[in-house]
């Protein structure tokens, strides 16, 4: 659907190769219609096995991945990511979900996804998110930011703490603003920093979320049956 618009794109923009993984065909076609011309959909899949095959064949830059998928061992999107772990260097995963249950979201993030958005996101919103992920940045929805604040606590770190276990004061500020519904641009304006700096902070938070074995985080996750 969007393939027709490539010629008029000015040529200076690279097109991002994307695979869409979702078990609902209606949602896939809706998503294809929504994604703008900077994005090239090179494959689709509706189950864990199909997704693994298509991703291995196409080696896309970004995989738009539904959290809930049939097939495989029942692990859904998380299983797709962990079985494609060897490609995480070249392929980024952006999780999509109708569910905003913490267990679903945090599980895919900890498996290696670069971000999470809800399926009610707007067309331009999802395109921006794909491009951001393709550039190596992280995409946080307000709700994911809320989960992070919930898990890491809302007080800034002391110097004594392991750096993975707490968010810095700046990271907390960024997370708070995202949870309040600010876009990266608005966060940058509010904090008088550049968008690039915002992206750095968000990526750092994502890394902490993925790597931290902090007691509170594991406890938080265990309470929600995430581990």
């Amino acid at each position: 659907m969007n393939a027709a618009g490539t010629a008029g794109d000015g040529g200076n923009q690279r097109r991002i190769r994307v695979v869409v993984v979702d078990d609902h065909a209606i949602f896939r076609s809706g998503l294809k219609a929504d994604l703008d011309s900077r994005i090239d959909i090179v494959g689709e899949a509706g189950s864990v096995e199909e997704a693994l095959r298509v991703i291995a064949e196409q080696r896309p830059e970004v995989v738009l991945l539904d959290v809930h998928l049939p097939g495989g061992l029942g692990g859904g999107g998380r299983e797709v990511i962990s079985k494609s772990a060897h490609m995480l260097g070249s392929t980024s995963f952006l999780a999509l979900s109708v569910s905003d249950a913490a267990e679903d979201v945090v599980a895919v993030i900890r498996a290696g996804a670069r971000g999470y958005v809800t399926k009610t996101i707007s067309g331009p919103g999802i395109s921006d998110a794909v491009i951001r992920v393709a550039d190596g940045d992280a995409v946080f929805s307000p709700r994911l930011a809320g989960f992070v604040l919930d898990a890491f606590g809302t007080s800034p770190s002391d110097i004594a703490d392991d750096e993975l276990d707490r968010l810095s004061a700046r990271e907390l500020e960024v997370m708070r603003l995202i949870a309040r519904g600010y876009s990266y641009k608005e966060v940058a304006k509010e904090l008088f920093i550049s968008i690039k700096t915002v992206e750095t902070h968000v990526s750092a938070v994502l890394r902490k979320l993925q790597l931290s074995s902090r007691h509170e985080l594991t406890k938080w996750a265990a309470e929600r049956r995430l581990l």
Partner: protein, 436 residues
């Protein structure tokens, strides 16, 4: 069982001396209980006929609530030991003292039942001994085996726990009266057969041989019937599991019907109005989400729940999406109610004047609670709000100040944000709470 239609069904009554047989029978026949009881006692002296009859009815006639349960089970799944017995007033007859329904062979009655049975047995034995003393010739050779068989049957029956018994009874009465007739006939045949065998044979040696043969035959029968019995048992288990599943499925189906299907029907009818469709879809999504993921442990008196409920209300009235993100939570207090009301006002303003999704962020920590309500509307100048507009000035800023909190509004071309802050309970309130 073959009573005319007008008669109350034959149940053992809750108003009882021993097992409620007499009063049940009285209600069934429409005779006074007293005469029936006297008659039963008198009949007992006629070779124990009354006792036998009583025991027979005790075993075969269900209690009122058990009967009710059976009636219910023929309509729907019977999970209701506590089901109010609709037949109780009927079967209790003249006695309106509707006691709380006691399940068949329930623990409390069971205790007394055992002792009563034992007592009855002892009285029976004593009666025989006295009769022998008085020189009456009793057919001991018949009475002792009969008593043994009855006792054995009673013990075997008691061993089953209540649910199994109910299950067995359910099964045996699968074809109602026919099942009971067969069971009774079989029991009577066995008893009669053994009696004839024991009393008919002259010597104990022959009896011994006959007993051996019987045991062999019984063993054979058990061998043959065992697979059938096991299958029967498994069927029973499967049926019970199936019934549980069926109940769950019915609950889910009922819920989906009441909510999702209704909404889908509404959406089809209103397909032309995009705003209506979005609103319906959002409301349904929220409701379904609440049903699927609701935290059973969390009470409804939590701040986050209240904020979410208010957001849902605003979303319903204005058709604007209101997204709530909450971090931390606290129990609602009086001051929190003011915070909720101020937040509601802010959400209403955002939905009315702003555009797009309204973002609500609630953060609760030991220091207090903060709420941020952000929209993406054209913005306005808070200083330029006319004095007579009470919405912002009174409902938000004034209300927060009165309860020891603060409210700030920042507005720009990319949207408006209302920040509400309520510090944790100050010393005044702590004192207030400390008073009994």
């Amino acid at each position: 069982m073959t009573s005319p239609a007008q008669r109350p069904p034959l149940f053992r009554s809750g108003d009882r001396m021993i097992a409620g047989v007499c009063s049940g029978l009285a209600a069934h026949l429409g005779w006074p209980v007293k005469y029936l009881r006297i008659g039963m006692v008198l009949a007992s002296f006629a070779g124990g006929a009354g006792l036998m009859f009583y025991a027979w009815l005790w075993v075969l006639v269900p209690t009122a609530d058990e009967g009710a349960r059976r009636l219910a089970s023929s309509i729907g799944p019977a999970v209701s030991a506590s089901l109010p017995a609709p037949n109780a007033p009927l079967s209790a007859g003249g006695s309106p003292s509707a006691r709380p329904a006691v399940p068949w062979f329930s623990g409390r009655r069971f205790q007394y039942g055992k002792e009563l049975l034992l007592g009855a047995g002892l009285i029976f034995v004593a009666g025989i001994l006295i009769a022998r003393q008085l020189g009456v010739d009793l057919p001991l050779g018949t009475l002792i085996p009969a008593a043994a068989i009855l006792g054995g049957a009673a013990i075997a029956w008691m061993q089953l726990d209540e649910t199994r018994r109910a299950g067995l009874v359910d099964k045996t009465k699968a074809d109602q009266a026919g099942g009971w007739v067969r069971l009774a006939a079989g029991l009577a045949l066995v008893v009669a057969g053994v009696l004839v065998m024991v009393s008919g044979s002259g010597s104990w040696e022959q009896t011994w041989l006959a007993l051996l043969a019987s045991v062999a035959v019984l063993g054979g029968v058990v061998l043959v019937l065992l697979p059938w019995g096991l299958k029967f048992w498994r069927d029973l288990e499967t049926e019970r599991a199936g019934r549980v599943r069926e109940t769950e499925r019915a609950e889910i189906a009922a819920h989906l019907h009441d909510s999702v299907l209704q909404t889908l029907a509404l959406i089809q009818r209103r397909a032309s109005s995009e705003q209506d469709v979005v609103r319906l879809a959002r409301a349904q999504e929220r409701e379904l989400r609440g049903w699927l993921y609701r935290d059973q442990a969390a009470g409804s008196g939590q701040l986050a729940d209240r904020i979410k409920a208010v957001a849902a209300e605003v979303e319903d009235t204005h058709g604007h999406m209101v997204d709530v993100v909450s971090v931390g939570d606290t129990v609602m207090g009086e001051r929190h109610e003011a915070l909720v009301q101020a937040a509601r006002e802010a959400m209403l303003n955002a939905a009315r004047h702003g555009g797009g999704t309204v973002s609500v962020y609630l953060e609760t920590s030991d220091a207090g609670s903060e709420i941020f309500v952000k929209d993406r509307g054209p913005g306005f100048d808070p200083e330029a709000v006319p004095k007579d507009r009470l919405g912002v000035r009174e409902s938000i800023i004034g209300r927060m100040k009165r309860h020891g909190g603060t409210a700030a509004i920042s507005s720009g071309p990319s949207g408006t944000e209302v920040r509400l802050s309520l510090p944790a309970a100050g010393p005044d309130e702590r004192n207030g709470e400390g008073r009994p």
